[in-house]
């Protein structure tokens, strides 16, 4: 009975636009993280809110309410002036919210997905925002005009999107076990990488744009070499004892971070896919993984709501 009265209160809280700390910090998962381009801020996505902290001290600078569910991805624009966060109501809608980092004033893009948006990626020129959703679509948003284009080809949820460093291509990873690479300008699919044997949860471009990494439920970490209209598997390694949740390159392209449901976080030599460092045993799944712009820190946000920032020395 006690639980019910709590949920009733919450319904009210939802209707009245309060900045809610709905579920206690210890319970709600922290599902995403991103450093600002200058490394000064760390945005963490939680349940129905984004907290922005000073990266150095951990002090909370802003609590941004409004998202309708778990904040699945947070991403700063390349110029640091805008923070984007994705969310949605499962089965009903997906949403992308933007805030100006100077004032933390929110703006919302027109909802255009019929299910939760799971991933966001900015183009290097800051003009386009790519989004991937459970509704199997990838969308490309012109941030200024608010117009969007839908890229339709995946046959299962799109869990992760990434922009190539030159802005020409977008990669998407899906529950249909494929990575698809698209021409961002034309909005057309260039090629599909089908080597994975189970759902893929995360994809990332190497800083040179010549390589892609992706991983997911089959526990393997794979890298492909990418040419303008084709890609080929270059390496694969058995990475974890459970599904891999996130992959992230270091800014110098030498390292590749992975976090997994087996409650571990690892740093790999990106060239040869050999483990360089295994972080301490995590208290829970590392859902959010963010590498600082100078490559000196990595933030891990977890299912149990905790956040940790690790120092990463040169070479791991």
């Amino acid at each position: 009975m006690a639980q019910y009265s709590r949920s009733l209160l919450r319904v009210f809280a939802f209707c009245v636009p309060l900045a809610t700390a709905t579920v206690s910090a210890a319970v709600a998962p922290r599902s995403s993280a991103a450093f600002s381009p200058d490394g000064a801020l760390l945005a963490v996505g939680g349940y129905q809110e984004v907290t922005v902290r000073e990266a150095a001290t951990g002090r909370t600078k802003a609590r941004l309410g409004g998202p309708s569910g778990a904040v699945t991805a947070v991403a700063f624009s390349p110029d640091g002036k805008t923070l984007a966060a994705s969310s949605g109501v499962p089965g009903r809608s997906g949403e992308i919210r933007l805030w100006l980092t100077e004032t933390w004033k929110p703006t919302v893009l027109a909802p255009a997905h019929s299910d939760v948006v799971y991933s966001l990626a900015w183009s290097p020129d800051g003009k386009t925002l790519a989004a991937g959703s459970y509704d199997r679509l990838v969308s490309l948003w012109d941030v200024k005009s608010g117009q969007s284009r839908k890229l339709k080809d995946h046959t299962d949820a799109v869990y992760s999107v990434a922009f190539s460093p030159d802005g020409s291509r977008v990669a998407s990873a899906s529950g249909d076990r494929t990575v698809k690479v698209w021409d961002a300008a034309a909005g057309k699919r260039l090629f599909t990488l089908s080597d994975s044997t189970a759902e893929l949860y995360s994809v990332a471009f190497h800083p040179t744009g010549k390589q892609l990494a992706a991983a997911g439920v089959d526990r393997m970490l794979r890298t492909w070499s990418i040419a303008p209209s084709a890609g080929a598997l270059s390496r694969s390694a058995f990475a974890h004892d459970g599904p891999v949740i996130r992959v992230a390159y270091t800014p110098d392209g030498q390292g590749l971070f992975t976090s997994s449901e087996d409650r571990s976080v690892k740093l790999w030599d990106a060239a040869v896919l050999v483990e360089k460092r295994v972080f301490e045993k995590q208290p829970d799944w590392g859902l959010g993984l963010a590498v600082a712009p100078r490559g000196d820190r990595v933030a891990v946000t977890r299912y149990d709501g905790s956040v940790a920032v690790y120092q990463v020395g040169p070479g791991g």
């Binding site: 709905t22 319970v27 998962p29 569910g69 778990a70 499962p90 089965g91 949820a157």
Partner: protein, 850 residues
């Protein structure tokens, strides 16, 4: 008549039936325990007749609780708890009463819904994790659940965490996608599975609100299912609700009736709906099976045939051994009148074909019938052209073929038993049964080199000829080692090289069970789990093959290393034969010994039983379990007592195969006529009559060859080799292929095709096999013609050759009418004889065993 009318009018007016005596109704379950405030128990009121449950009267009953402050009961008989304490529920119906005590406890303590024990079975019942929906290997709509919930831990993670926990809103359970979709509040490919506010909805909602507790090793486990009523004797048109109660290890019970998966083995006798309501449609007996949380139980629904059969029909029916006591017991319970015993001619032909796959020669037939008659005379039997029926009355036979010279008014079991004994010693017997076990063990040059195949064949045939006990036979196969040329049984490991294959083949061949389903998930129809499967597979994990010195020779050895990893975890399990005792992974020695010991133990509930079932089916035409190798909990035998008794007899007599065969063949059940008694024509299940069946391909080909005296040429084999002597299934033969010879690629008994088809019919009439043999020079027809018999005797001889009996006067006159007097010109005479023989050989009487 008038009082009957009054009674009917009265019952129409008052809606009640004739008054019931107290003691003739009972409440089921007889005792109710409600644990926790959320428990419920449905009750049914059952009529009792002569100690058996005989009808569901719940609809007409009125329910009362002695203490509504402890427990209430509604009009439908559902008991609900109010507070801790005791009460009595009474059902009143037509003046009779029945009561059941109720104990309520734990209402003050929370009774949390368990994911494994409540959420999972609910989802399974709703079909969420069925193979057609989210249980499919690729899931549906991004949600992938384990098939029928065989892995609660994985499913819990999927619901609560996967895709960032999108399916659950812990702070607002009704908003959870899980509930929104299942109730159709959001468009759902699977439609609406249950309604908002239904019991299913409330269980899920309350479980989410409690924080989605995960399955835990501390959760109590289901021990068994109780079914009410466990058996019932009903009539066509009656409905019967069944209840299922789950008994858990911690002692508490739950009424799980709404969440059980119900199936009927035979819808034409009784069907069952999703709510456990059985509707009886015809006469017979059928188990209704129930599946819940990987446990199985069943209710036996009997619907005796409508017309009563006088007791003396069973009392006076022939009984030659314990088999008959049990067959007749079942027939009596179902009111199926048994047929009479077959004639001596019918018996000798039947026995020869079923036991040795050959026809008796005319000389053998005449000698046997004389012997039978002599025994009959000694016993003082009377003559007459009659077949007796089980009730001692006799009936002039018209339809069934019967010789006018050999009366059969009483039966000579001793002479027939001696015939059986002689048959068991013939070399054709060894050929027939060796062939059968070669079908089972897949002896063929498809996968074996010729020398290996011969080695296996000879090993098998020698074993049959020396009557090697079946447990020793199987033990030698399972533990076979060494050279495949010198130890024929070792070829088993060349035919099946993979531990997965070995697991499935060994189970099917020697346990009569298909456990293939459990390779990827818990078996949906049986109790076998993934762990059982991979524990068994690991018994074969160390079998090694090496090339021998000679070409095509393989050496089979047991190694020291090697394990079969379980799927999904990748970890090998301690070797364990299905539900037997495990041995440690590092145990020394040949793991197959442990398997062989478990497999062939008299205590093994499947091994002897499945063998007995195979042998039984060979003679009776229908296994006690059908299909012959489909023994599973959800497919119980049509006569459990009989199968158990035969099995006990087999295991306590050293697994003696010939003895088992003799027991079956000397029973009256085997010797019944294939003409059913009047009123029993629809029974094809309970052995009231001999089930006529087409001869198997090899037997038929050999019979045709024998009758025509023209052997079949098999390429590569000496002239005169019978089809049943062929060791190899790859020998080319159009006839054998058309008539369903198994290729010996799969262990399944279904590999032998028994269905008729057009190719068979055409081949018999127009094909070369029969026609070629009829025309062959030097064949039996030629020899018979050389004897220069008068027409009548010539015709009689042909009948004896083909049918093992003389023609009746009626048949003789019909042949005369059709052919006229037989031509004297040798060529024309030969042709006429060929024509007559062709008609005989393509008739059902020849093609069938009856």
């Amino acid at each position: 008549m008038r009082s009957l009318l009054r009674c009917v009018i009265l019952s129409v007016m008052t809606g009640t039936g004739p008054a019931l005596a107290s003691g003739s109704v009972t409440l089921l379950p007889g005792k109710v325990e409600l644990t926790g405030a959320r428990a419920t128990q449905r009750l049914i009121v059952e009529k009792r007749e002569g100690g058996a449950f005989a009808g569901d009267l719940t609809g007409r009953a009125r329910f009362v609780s002695s203490n509504p402050r402890v427990a209430t009961v509604d009009a439908g008989g559902v008991v609900r708890p109010v507070a801790d304490g005791s009460a009595v529920i009474t059902a009143v119906i037509d003046g009779a009463k029945a009561s059941a005590p109720v104990r309520v406890h734990g209402t003050k303590k929370p009774f949390p819904w368990s994911f494994a024990n409540h959420v999972m079975p609910l989802l399974t019942k709703m079909g969420c994790n069925s193979g057609a929906c989210h249980g499919a290997s690729a899931g549906k709509g991004g949600l992938k659940l384990t098939l029928r919930g065989y892995d609660p831990d994985a499913d819990h993670a999927t619901f609560t965490r996967q895709a960032l926990g999108r399916r659950i809103v812990p702070s607002d359970p009704p908003r959870s996608l899980m509930l929104q979709k299942a109730t159709g509040s959001i468009p759902h490919g699977g439609g609406r599975r249950f309604a908002v506010g239904s019991r299913e909805y409330r269980v899920l909602e309350q479980w989410i609100a409690a924080g989605c507790p995960a399955p835990s090793p501390r959760d109590t486990r289901l021990q068994r299912l109780e079914v009410y009523p466990p058996e019932a004797i009903l009539k066509a048109g009656q409905d019967q609700q069944v209840l299922v109660r789950a008994v858990f290890a911690d002692g508490h019970t739950e009424d799980v009736t709404p969440w059980v998966k119900y199936t009927s083995v035979d819808d034409t006798v009784a069907a069952v709906d999703d709510h456990g309501k059985v509707s009886v449609r015809g006469s017979g007996e059928v188990p209704v099976t129930m599946w819940y949380l990987s446990k199985v139980a069943f209710a036996r629904i009997s619907a005796p045939f409508p017309k009563p059969v006088p007791a003396e029909a069973f009392a006076r029916a022939e009984r030659f051994n314990f088999v008959d006591d049990l067959v007749l017991k079942k027939l009596r319970a179902l009111r199926i009148r048994p047929a009479g015993i077959c004639s001596d001619e019918q018996f000798i032909r039947r026995a020869y074909l079923d036991a040795a796959g050959v026809l008796p020669t005319p000389e053998e037939v005449e000698a046997f019938v004389k012997e039978c008659q002599a025994e009959r005379n000694r016993a003082g039997g009377n003559g007459g052209n009659e077949e007796t029926r089980g009730n001692g009355k006799t009936r002039e036979l018209r339809a069934a073929p019967i010789s006018s010279h050999f009366p059969i008014s009483s039966f000579p079991p001793a002479t027939r038993a001696r015939l059986v004994d002689r048959l068991l010693e013939r070399s054709e017997f060894a050929d027939y049964w060796a062939y059968k076990w070669c079908d089972l063990l897949l002896v063929s040059t498809k996968k074996l080199p010729s020398k290996g195949m011969w080695s296996f064949y000879n090993w098998i045939r020698d074993g049959v000829a020396e009557n090697k006990p079946w447990d020793r036979f199987v033990r030698e196969v399972v533990t076979a080692s060494g050279s495949t040329f010198r130890n024929g049984a070792a070829n088993y490991y060349v035919l099946h090289k993979d531990p997965i294959e070995l697991t499935e083949t060994t189970s099917q061949a020697f346990l009569g069970m298909s456990i293939t389903c459990a390779r990827c998930h818990n078996h949906p129809l049986e109790k076998w789990t993934l762990d059982d499967y991979y524990g068994m597979a690991n018994l074969f994990g160390r079998v090694r093959l090496k090339n021998g010195d000679l070409a095509g020779e393989t050496l089979v050895l047991s190694g020291d290393l090697g394990d079969v990893p379980r799927i999904r975890t990748g970890v090998p399990l301690p070797p364990k034969p299905l539900d037997g005792r495990p041995i440690p992974l590092d145990a020394a020695g040949d793991r197959r010994e442990h398997l062989a010991q478990w497999l062939t133990s008299p205590e093994n509930p499947y091994f002897a039983r499945s063998f007995v079932n195979r042998v039984w089916r060979n003679f009776m035409g229908r296994g006690l379990v059908e299909a012959e190798d489909d023994l599973r909990l959800t497919n119980p035998p049509s006569n459990e007592e009989l199968l158990a008794a035969l099995t006990r007899d087999f295991t306590s007599n050293g697994f003696d195969v010939k003895r088992l065969i003799r027991t079956v063949m000397t029973s009256a059940a085997y010797q019944r006529s294939s003409t059913p008694a009047k009123g029993s024509e629809t029974d094809q299940k309970f052995y009231s009559s001999y089930i006529a069946r087409r001869l198997p391909a090899e037997v038929l080909l050999d019979a045709i060859s024998q009758a025509t005296g023209a052997p079949t040429e098999f390429p590569g084999y000496p002239r005169g080799t019978r089809a049943l002597q062929l060791p190899d299934s790859t020998v080319v033969s159009y006839f054998l292929t058309a008539f369903g010879r198994p290729e010996r690629v799969q262990t399944c008994s279904c590999e032998r095709q028994e269905e008729p088809n057009v190719a068979q019919a055409l081949h018999l009439s127009n094909g070369e096999t029969i026609n070629g043999k009829l025309r062959a020079p030097g064949n039996a027809l030629e020899r018979v013609l050389k004897e220069n018999l008068p027409d009548e005797l010539l015709i009689e001889r042909l009948y004896l050759i083909a049918f093992s009996r003389r023609p009746s006067p009626d048949e003789k006159s019909r042949v005369e009418k059709a052919l006229g007097p037989l031509p004297t010109d040798p060529k024309a005479r030969r042709e006429a004889v060929e024509d007559l023989m062709s008609a005989l050989l393509t008739s059902k009487e020849f093609l069938f065993n009856h």
